[in-house]
Symmetry: C2
Subunit: 236 residues, 2 copies
DNA sequence: TTGTTGATATTTGTATACAATTTGTATAAT
DNA sequence: ATTATACAAATTGTATACAAATATCAACAA
């Protein structure tokens, strides 16, 4: 029962970053964390290096580890490249998935749906992450997974924001996403790469629209014409 | 002039891996290397973790660091995904390259051509690596560069094998590759993404053909019909 | 020969002390 | 009041000693 503290630390830090428990841009305190995880600084720093390699952190000489930030530039890059990678990975997953992996994918999907039913935002984000990570494993292409992993880190962090259903319409979109997962599983099982690509495209479009909707919501009612005095209308 | 030993170690190890000075699959000896680089094991291990994150090494619990291997499976994956990434990165490079980066790219290309003129195989491989790495920086997309980097690691290692020109025809192909670099630079400078994609496609085709030619060379002359005695012909 | 066991050597992992660097703060000079 | 400078505190980086795990190999049994 002596489970590796270092590995536990790595997994927990990942989760805390993905769930925004540790926010983007946060500088990590070696001393504090080494006490929290009951590790000395040496192995903790090795964990940092590794997480940096996976894109969770960025390291700067003599300046500690920082959780990778999510600024405008990275959002732009994210939208620019996500579909390319997701589609390619989806295609390969359909070609190469093993029965064992399909079992794992179904399991993740069951957990995802259950989290959706319980309006468990964290659970949804994390199991959605697992789902797409498993699809990545199915593709089994070591040249594509690094990009996929980085996309998923930020995709999952964004999910934290927009998986909170604000109304029944948004709840409906979550069910749609969930159904798309089921369809993707089915297409992978049937070994239909083209179908998986098409479903992945749709799945991405839905996710993308949700994020855009969050970033640029419906404007508040514009009653300027009523409230603004004439003087202001002609000002400047 | 007190240049960081750790950083020097990281750069040198990368180079030794890329030039096949340390062969794929080699297990690295912490004690030996820490003496060679005049570092204690602690920072050396951090270098390992980082290089593992970048795809140069793979780490196994309680079993040291191994240089990433190049087996049949990875070759297949390489050919499957290289063009996708190279083309996407090329397109973005044309859109986003800064003047400073173009200067750096031209410098790498000059060094590459010079190495070619001197039949300097290492130089060619390394400056070709630099060239494409700079194109990656031009793209400036943190979600694509991880995959590009991994592709370049193995592409460069393969180059070590096939950049040795065996005859004038093969030498000619090197000049073609060199000219393609020039054309790519020109297209990037002119901000013509579609042109860069097309040139990248041609550049990749050339490289791919060279590798295939190396893996599956022209068969030796088949003179079995002449040499084989009648007895053997009818054996079994 | 093949395989198992256990002692020993080697290698890998961790804690801690210390060195180097950066950050913060108080005081002096302009 | 603002900038410089010097010193103190905190943080990051490295070396080393020790602990844990794994590999090696000889002795012995099947």
């Amino acid at each position: 029962m002596k489970i590796n503290k270092k590995q536990a630390c790595r997994i927990d830090l990942k989760q805390r970053i993905l769930t925004l428990d540790i926010e983007p841009g946060t500088v990590l305190d070696e001393t504090l964390l080494s006490r929290q995880y009951e590790l000395s600084r040496t192995p903790l720093r090795e964990v940092f290096q590794r997480l940096a390699g996976e894109g969770y952190l960025t390291l700067e000489e003599n300046r500690g580890a920082k959780v990778s930030s999510m600024d405008i530039a990275s959002m732009r890059n994210f939208f620019q490249s996500a579909l390319l990678i997701y589609a390619a990975v989806g295609r390969l997953a359909a070609e190469n998935a093993t029965p064992r992996q399909i079992v794992a994918l179904k399991s993740a999907q069951r957990s995802f749906r259950k989290a959706g039913e319980n309006s468990d935002v964290f659970g949804m984000a994390m199991f959605n992450h697992s789902f797409h990570q498993i699809v990545g494993e199915m593709a089994g292409n070591a040249y594509l997974t690094p990009s996929l992993s980085r996309l998923l880190i930020d995709h999952t962090r964004m999910s934290q924001l927009f998986y909170k259903p604000k109304n029944t319409q948004e709840q409906q979109l979550i069910w749609t996403a969930c159904d798309q997962h089921d369809q993707i599983i089915e297409a992978i099982e049937k070994r239909e790469p083209a179908m998986v690509v098409e479903l992945t495209r749709e799945h991405w479009a839905l996710s993308r629209d949700r994020i855009e909707k969050y970033v640029r919501p419906d404007p508040l009612p514009n009653d300027l014409d009523v409230d603004t005095p004439e003087s202001k209308k002609h000002a400047i």
